[in-house]
């Protein structure tokens, strides 16, 4: 792109006092966002604060009711997605779709495939070569060109997405929750890339729930609350705690409301459990009332362990006992009958059915309780749903609302409510607060505390180490399939846990 850069200090983006209403409800109330060229600009706010509306306006997906949009000092009246892309603004979405049956090369060049000169035929060889050049230059990784998108890890898919945007030599890159599904090491690679792009003159808008990332990465941050920009601050003069206070107008001290619970009898024990090539010789005991943290990098085996407990994978040797009874489950149905509950990481894929109602989701696992002679007891279902909606403070337009219409945090509450309805006793929570806003996070932490207090045993798998330390009693760190460290949560720090999970002295493989 040969567009001459005007003065170096100017604004790349200026959204000026934007007002946007949906069905009369005010989504943005004179919100402004001013992003200086060549900086990394953070955008934070709870769900519903107006972040996504603001970004959709910038993307040309919505039009503002009032206010001005300026790009490179030029005001635009009606932006379209196409026009925005021409202006060099690109968006990296957390759940943007790549065609799963395409190869890496095909996905990168979808819609702008190079042709063999003078023919209508695709130049596959050129496609693949350019793809690997870019991947190598920016990420230092080699993805097998012929690999299918569906075979890639989440981190690798994201690399493909970013590479796609880089092919257009963008002026502005907008990252929407890019690290939600990444482990720390993968996020580090992303951060290095973002800094390098900034140094090359690209303007970055970075949206994240993780305030430590904002603190680490951004030059400036804008905080949205209730559709208004409550502050825009240079990062040198503020802290994650101060940002969080501005977001919620509430003190961060009660962010991790860990309750002290007297531990009861053993509820779950693993004895020398092994699964070939995934984890070995795992022994642990979980007591009623205990919240046990589990963490490890991609490939540490932590995820496989959880899946084995829930009957989604099988162990090759070793024992599992629940309440003293053998409990190796061949499928989830058996695990659920043993009062195990899994709140999976892929909430929208496996945790809740987006096109079922709140009620239908809540009673899905416990339908037998609401069945008389094969027929459904609608009244029983309704009162169960109402009860759990009230107890968990699930915000929905009603019990018949489709779960699709709920925010991430409320979807997660529905995923948990399903197991409360099933009277589960051992809860396996896999990244329970990924993509959940701060307010809902605190509510979910409280809920975990309540469950423990009622005598459930809880295992939390999380790569958010501050969270893990804040809500658990103990933390087990897995590394290459083995438990290598155990921490008492009240006597450790994220740095210690991180060091352990990277195997300290071990040299690690690259992404994925």
């Amino acid at each position: 792109m040969s567009a001459a850069l005007p003065d170096e200090t100017g604004d790349a983006i200026h959204l000026d006092r934007i007002v946007k209403r949906f069905d009369g409800a005010l989504a943005l109330n004179h919100a402004s966002l001013r992003v200086r060229r060549g900086t990394v600009h953070g955008l934070v706010g709870q769900n519903g604060a107006g972040k996504s509306t603001l970004i959709k306006l910038l993307a040309g997906l919505h039009q503002p009711d009032e206010g001005r949009i300026e790009i490179d000092g030029q005001a635009y009246d009606r932006l379209t997605p196409h026009r925005v892309e021409e202006l060099g603004i690109h968006f990296i979405h957390q759940d943007r779709l790549l065609v799963p049956t395409f190869t890496v090369g095909e996905a990168l060049f979808l819609g702008r495939e190079p042709r063999i000169t003078g023919t209508p035929f695709l130049d596959r060889r050129l496609m693949q070569r350019r793809a690997s050049e870019i991947l190598d230059d920016y990420f230092g990784v080699k993805l097998p060109n012929s690999a299918l998108i569906s075979e890639l890890s989440t981190a690798e898919k994201q690399i493909v997405q970013i590479t796609r945007a880089l092919l257009d030599q963008p002026k502005v890159l907008v990252f929407d929750e890019p690290t939600a599904a990444l482990v720390r090491r993968e996020a580090d690679i992303l951060f290095r890339l973002i800094r390098r792009l900034r140094d090359e003159g690209v303007t970055i808008i970075y949206i994240s729930h993780y305030l430590n990332e904002i603190e680490e990465l951004c030059d400036t941050v804008t905080i949205l609350r209730n559709g208004e920009d409550v502050a825009t601050l240079p990062l040198g003069e503020t802290s994650a705690a101060a940002i969080a206070r501005l977001m919620v107008a509430r003190d961060i001290a009660d962010m991790f409301p860990k309750r002290s619970v007297t531990l009861g009898k053993d509820i779950l024990s693993l004895d020398h459990l092994s699964s070939h090539g995934k984890y070995q010789d795992i022994s642990l005991t979980l007591r009623r009332g205990e919240v046990l943290g589990l963490t490890g990098l991609l490939g540490s085996g932590a995820k496989d362990l959880i899946r084995t407990l829930f009957g989604l994978e099988t162990a090759t040797s070793g024992q599992i006992e629940i309440d003293g009874q053998p409990a190796r489950s061949a499928n989830p149905a058996q695990a659920v009958d043993r009062h195990l509950a899994l709140v999976p990481e892929d909430r929208r894929g496996n945790g809740v059915a987006l096109d079922l109602s709140v009620t239908e989701n809540i009673t899905l696992s416990s339908l037998k309780r609401f069945t008389r002679l094969g027929f459904l007891d609608f009244n029983g279902e309704r009162s169960e749903a109402d009860d759990l909606i009230r107890r968990l403070e699930i915000k929905a337009s009603g019990r018949n609302a489709l779960v699709r219409t709920l925010s991430g945090g409320n979807q997660q509450k529905v995923a948990i409510a399903k197991w409360l309805s099933r009277h589960s006793e051992v809860y396996l929570l896999d990244e329970p607060t990924v993509g959940v806003d701060i307010g809902s996070k605190v509510e979910i932490y409280n809920l975990i505390g309540d469950l423990a207090a009622r005598g459930a045993g809880i295992i939390v798998l999380s790569s958010d180490l501050a969270e893990l330390i804040g809500i658990t009693d103990r933390i087990l760190v897995l590394f290459r399939g083995s438990i290598i460290r155990e921490f008492v949560s009240s006597r450790t720090s994220p740095d210690d846990v991180l060091a352990a999970s990277t195997g300290s002295s071990e040299v690690l493989r690259h992404v994925g």
């Binding site: 919505h62 149905a333 894929g349 059915a353 987006l354 899905l364 696992s365 459904l376």
Partner: protein, 331 residues
């Protein structure tokens, strides 16, 4: 979120949009009905309306309900016609062999259910996609019928040898209502209850919407899928019994005539329902819609060969209607 919001779209009151969205099928039916009433003087006569129910509705409704069960679990059953044929063959052959009609009828139902069970093994047992599994069953079923009938010869019941019960099933009436229509009504009612009020129906629809969530909820999703396909075979068999009792003959592979219309009716009903879920009332209205269009076009004197153009246009119209109403509703 919709990708585009039309801020300048003419403002139709939301209440009106709501009525259209929730009753799109009924409105479509009324429209088609009105058009043909104007276009043909014979359309709106008792005799013709009866003929629609008997000739264009009864059998297709039952087969389409079978299809709806397969679609409810997120699948499709291309072998509904095969189940119709196998039921019909077993029924006619056993009656011909002098077996009691009740025994022959039960064998017919069993034959249809067996086709469904074969699909269930392929789909839930082996893990073949419903489309391919039932396509295979369709082909295999055709061959078996050819082999059983020496290359496709019909199996006739001699006019003298038709038992009374057999005749009653096909041509009889109770209180002036044809028996086949009564059987269709019972099937419609039963299927509606199963799909909306039984636990099985809830789980089936949940599987169709998001299988993995059902599995992660500790429910044996595959078993439910298997039951849905067996039910589809069983219900299609009911149509097979009525068909052979009406025409007193078994003609190999005649059931496949229902396939495309059954798919059409099921997806019309699904597309035009408020939540976009497979549902029995929607399927039944879809069958009526297809039946009325077929009958109406015939009465307007249009060349028979144009009939399928009408069906095709109808499906496009349904899609357009659902697209427009949904966009308006979410704007």
């Amino acid at each position: 979120m919709t990708l585009q919001t039309s801020a300048t779209a003419p403002s139709i009151p939301r209440a009106v949009i709501g009525v259209i969205v929730n009753n799109a099928l009924v409105l479509a039916l009324i429209t088609v009905f009105a058009i043909f009433s104007l276009a043909s003087p014979t359309f709106l006569t008792i005799a013709n309306l009866q003929s629609i129910l008997v000739n264009n509705f009864t059998l297709l409704a039952i087969v389409a309900i079978a299809m709806t069960f397969a679609v409810s679990v997120g699948g499709i059953d291309l072998s509904v016609g095969t189940a119709v044929d196998f039921a019909s063959f077993a029924f006619v052959s056993l009656v011909l062999a002098g077996q009691p009609v009740a025994v022959a009828a039960l064998a017919g139902l069993g034959a249809g259910a067996a086709v469904g069970a074969f699909n269930a093994v392929l789909i839930s047992g082996i893990g073949i996609s419903p489309f391919l599994a039932t396509l295979g069953t369709l082909f295999i079923g055709r061959s078996i019928q050819q082999l059983l009938t020496n290359g496709g010869n019909p199996v006739y019941l001699p006019p003298s040898g038709i038992p009374e019960a057999f005749r009653f099933l096909g041509r009889g009436a109770i209180a002036g209502i044809p028996v086949p229509l009564i059987l269709a009504a019972i099937t419609i009612l039963g299927a509606t209850v199963i799909l909306t009020r039984a636990r099985f129906g809830r789980v089936a629809l949940a599987i169709g919407i998001q299988t993995s969530v059902v599995r992660y909820s500790g429910i044996a999703a595959r078993a439910h899928v298997a039951v849905a396909f067996i039910l589809a075979g069983l219900i299609a068999a009911v149509a097979g019994l009525i068909l052979s009792a009406t025409v007193t003959v078994y003609i190999p592979s005649s059931g496949s005539a229902f396939l495309l219309n059954a798919i059409g009716a099921t997806f019309i009903g699904t597309t035009l329902s408020r939540l976009g879920r497979p549902n029995i009332p929607g399927t039944v209205l879809g069958v009526l819609l297809l039946g009325i269009v077929a009958n109406g076009l015939l009465l307007t004197g249009l060349n028979f060969y144009w009939q399928q153009v009408g069906t095709g246009l109808l499906i496009f119209a349904v899609l357009a209607l659902s697209f427009i109403t949904r966009r308006k509703a979410s704007a």
